[in-house]
């Protein structure tokens, strides 16, 4: 089969995407497919026009994970991996995703979302005091659209909030302030409509505010399957699957959660989770006894026969 691998692009997560794609291309070749690597740019439609049976979307962040590339693929009638354009757009925008979760009755930490315009034109700053009172400290400030924890800041007190907001607004015009939930950091990858074993991220540095540590071997330890009792595992998996459905995901996605004494809290869904050698979806697949090739093959199957999923 001729598989176009969409990668790179202009997103801030270009580097991760290229690493994901390199691994996917390898696997596809070993599976006997013809690989057409496409570093996504202005010539995407032209390149796709040269012929592809299916597109493997290995892009992360704005432009590739937000439904933009997917919409083009739909227009061109090329089947593609991962969630559809609308689901991608919902997952990419954390504020939108959280709205959908709340509507579906899925526990997600309390939040307030704002655009820059709200601060510039509507005096939203005057509401900060009340927001801080509601959410408590520390609170988390995040760009609404963005990945790899870029621009995610903690504010330990009111004086730290403006700086955190400015950082988050560097990545997106919309941000959210979210209640910080202390607990175990878990990720559930869903393939088809099946939850893979739960991964737990345990920071080795002891500093849970150190996001850099998450992307470095040795600074974060990943345990898969996570050590959870049956009830915990059930609740976590159920919350993840409910999120997957509520956001309209198909193919695959990764749901990030925090588990505390009240149960799981869903933070976000990643429509196109990383597929690099340190990424969590491949780890979860491996724990389920699925090699990377098998995972890639399964992802392709789901793209070609969504009904069979």
């Amino acid at each position: 089969m001729k598989v176009a691998v969409l990668k790179g692009g202009r997103s801030l997560e270009r580097g991760v995407s290229l690493r994901s794609a390199a691994r996917v291309e390898d696997a596809l070749e070993r599976l006997g497919h013809e690989v057409v690597p496409i570093d996504v740019g202005g010539d995407l439609v032209k390149r796709l026009g040269e012929g592809a049976d299916v597109a493997f979307v290995a892009m992360h962040g704005v432009g590739g994970e937000d439904g933009t590339a997917q919409e083009l693929l739909e227009i061109l009638g090329i089947p593609y991996t991962g969630p559809g354009a609308a689901a991608c757009a919902r997952c990419m925008d954390k504020a939108q995703a959280k709205d959908a979760m709340r509507e579906a009755g899925i526990p997600t930490p309390d939040w307030f979302a704002f655009s820059q315009a709200a601060f510039r034109e509507l005096g939203a700053a005057d509401a900060l005091g009340r927001i801080e009172e509601t959410l408590g400290f520390p609170l988390v400030v995040k760009p609404s659209r963005g990945g790899s924890s870029l621009g995610v800041k903690f504010a330990g007190s009111a004086t730290e909030v403006p700086q955190a907001l400015i950082a988050a607004f560097s990545y997106d015009d919309r941000i959210l302030l979210e209640r910080f939930v202390e607990g175990r950091e878990l990720a559930v990858s869903v393939l088809g409509d099946e939850a893979l074993p739960v991964v737990e991220a345990i920071p080795e540095s002891g500093d849970r505010y150190d996001f850099e540590a998450r992307y470095q071997i040795g600074r974060t330890r990943f345990v898969c399957p996570a050590e959870l009792d049956e009830a915990e595992e059930g609740a976590v998996t159920e919350a993840a699957l409910a999120t997957y459905r509520a956001l309209g995901c198909t193919g695959f996605a990764r749901i990030d959660l925090i588990l505390d004494e009240d149960g799981p809290w869903v933070l976000e869904a990643n429509a196109i989770p990383g597929l690099t050698d340190t990424s969590l979806l491949p780890q979860a697949a491996e724990a389920a006894g699925m090699s990377f090739e098998r995972l890639v093959e399964r992802i392709l199957e789901l793209a070609l026969k969504p009904a069979a999923a």
Partner: protein
């Protein structure tokens, strides 16, 4: 696009289990060789539509191609066999002749035997650290320091302590109390690393008084100073200051030089000058690392210097860079907000700008990249996470029009952040004059000060 032929059995990418297995094998020092989301960000600066003020690139486009062709042809015709052969670990005597000419232009006259030709100045720094640093040893450098030196020191597991800079370079006055403090702990720095002239990244130059004081201190305490001087000949105005090596005579100063900024970084030719006992060890280290520096490029330099216009070429570069510096400073005046401040270098390649401390330049880079412009976030020049509000701007690698446009774009994203901050806090803008007056009073550089040296 044509397909690149692939070997029939490309190795599979590592699985996570493999990585875990390798992780146990990695030396501790690799822990400091970080890969991070931020490094991915820097990778995007290479996009063609991005105006990158992030590089440290000299402009090689002005080097006459005919001259390059003629020299390489002569090498091919007259000494192909030798030029394609290994050379001595220390480098060819003829290369050292060229080096002595370059150093002579700055008033230095080292002995041939004290010079080693290295694969770029970077290797000279690496070899010095390799020769002198045991894990846990103290290395002192400037704050901010050359971002490329940090990973070198860290890879030898040095304990890096940074001393603040101001307009007159490293605050040598802070060195003595630091040395005393370290002494009480029974520690002594293995060396003090400095770029005294047109420093990377700050663009500042160490005053004569401080140079003398540093050399005296090194002599009195028998400390080694590593003087890295890639930019000394790129002076746009003002009087030349004697290099530390010249003041000291080479007893306690290890000198690092390079052809990168006065000829070409692509030829990877640099050098070190060190006292004979140190040089002996450096040569052994060099032998282990790569046996010898490229013979071919040493032949090229020899030919190039025979032509006799190397100083003219530097003069041409200086004229180009001076105009670009002027353009950058003028653009900063026009487009950066009153709360920002920056250095005004008399030479070299860089301007160091500092923004209000509520702006983190690493995050700002993400915003800047959306506006297709890039710089180096200040954090890269510190080992302890400081420098978060500063940025390094390069003016040598891009043309004047791009400099103007690049600075304008950065100014715009900063202005948005400043305005947002005011909206969030209700604070008003600081009048430009007030800010500058307070900086002048303290005679501090616009570096964000968050602690004492070594704290």
């Amino acid at each position: 696009m044509s397909e690149t032929p692939q070997p029939p059995h490309r190795r599979a990418h590592a699985s996570n289990r493999d990585l875990t297995r390798y992780a146990a094998l990695f030396a501790d020092r690799t822990q400091v060789m970080r890969s991070s989301a931020m490094r991915d960000l820097m990778a995007i600066t290479a996009r063609p539509e991005v105006i990158s003020l992030a590089g440290g690139l000299p402009d090689t486009s002005t080097f006459p191609p005919q001259s390059f062709a003629a020299q390489m042809t002569r090498i091919a015709q007259e000494s192909a066999a030798e030029a394609l052969q290994y050379g001595p670990t220390e480098g060819f005597e003829e290369t050292k002749d060229c080096i002595l000419q370059v150093m002579g232009a700055e008033g230095m006259l080292p002995d041939h035997d004290d010079v080693i030709v290295t694969t770029g100045g970077q290797q000279a720094i690496d070899l010095v650290a390799k020769t002198l640093v045991d894990p846990g040893d103290v290395v002192i450098c400037e704050a901010p320091t050359y971002p490329g030196a940090v990973p070198v020191f860290c890879s030898y597991e040095a304990d890096v302590i940074q001393i603040e800079c101001d307009q007159d370079g490293m605050r040598v006055g802070e060195l003595e109390p630091l040395l005393d403090r370290l002494g009480r702990e029974g520690r002594c720095p293995k060396f003090i690393y400095t770029v005294p002239t047109f420093q990377n990244p700050a663009g500042v130059t160490m005053s004569l008084e401080r140079r003398q004081r540093l050399v005296e201190l090194a002599r009195a305490r028998e400390l080694l100073v590593v003087e890295d001087n890639p930019y000394g000949l790129l002076r746009f105005e003002g009087d030349r200051l004697p290099p530390l090596y010249q003041l000291d005579g080479g007893d306690f100063v290890i000198y690092v030089g390079t052809f990168s900024k006065i000829l070409s970084p692509g030829i990877r030719l640099g050098w070190a000058v060190a006292p004979p006992p140190v040089m002996e060890k450096i040569v052994l280290g060099k032998q282990a690392t790569d046996l010898c520096t490229s013979t071919l490029t040493q032949y090229f330099v020899r030919e190039y210097f025979t032509e006799g216009r190397w100083q003219t070429y530097i003069e041409e570069l200086v004229a180009i860079y001076r105009a670009r510096r002027d353009t950058m400073v003028a653009a900063l005046d026009e487009h950066f907000p009153a709360e920002a401040s920056w250095t005004h270098p008399d030479g070299g390649l860089f301007v160091w700008a500092t923004l209000p401390d509520y702006i983190d330049t690493s995050d700002l880079l993400a915003k800047a990249l959306r506006a297709d412009v890039a710089f180096v976030p200040g954090q890269a020049a510190y080992v302890d996470g400081r420098g978060g509000s500063s940025m390094r701007l390069n003016f040598s690698g891009v043309g004047e029009e791009e400099i103007r446009e690049g600075v304008r774009r950065i100014g715009k994203v900063i202005a948005e952040q400043v305005e947002l901050y005011r909206t969030l806090t209700g604070e008003h803008a600081l009048p430009a004059r007030e800010q500058q007056a307070s900086a002048a009073e303290e005679n501090v550089l616009p570096f964000r000060k968050t602690g004492e040296a070594g704290a």
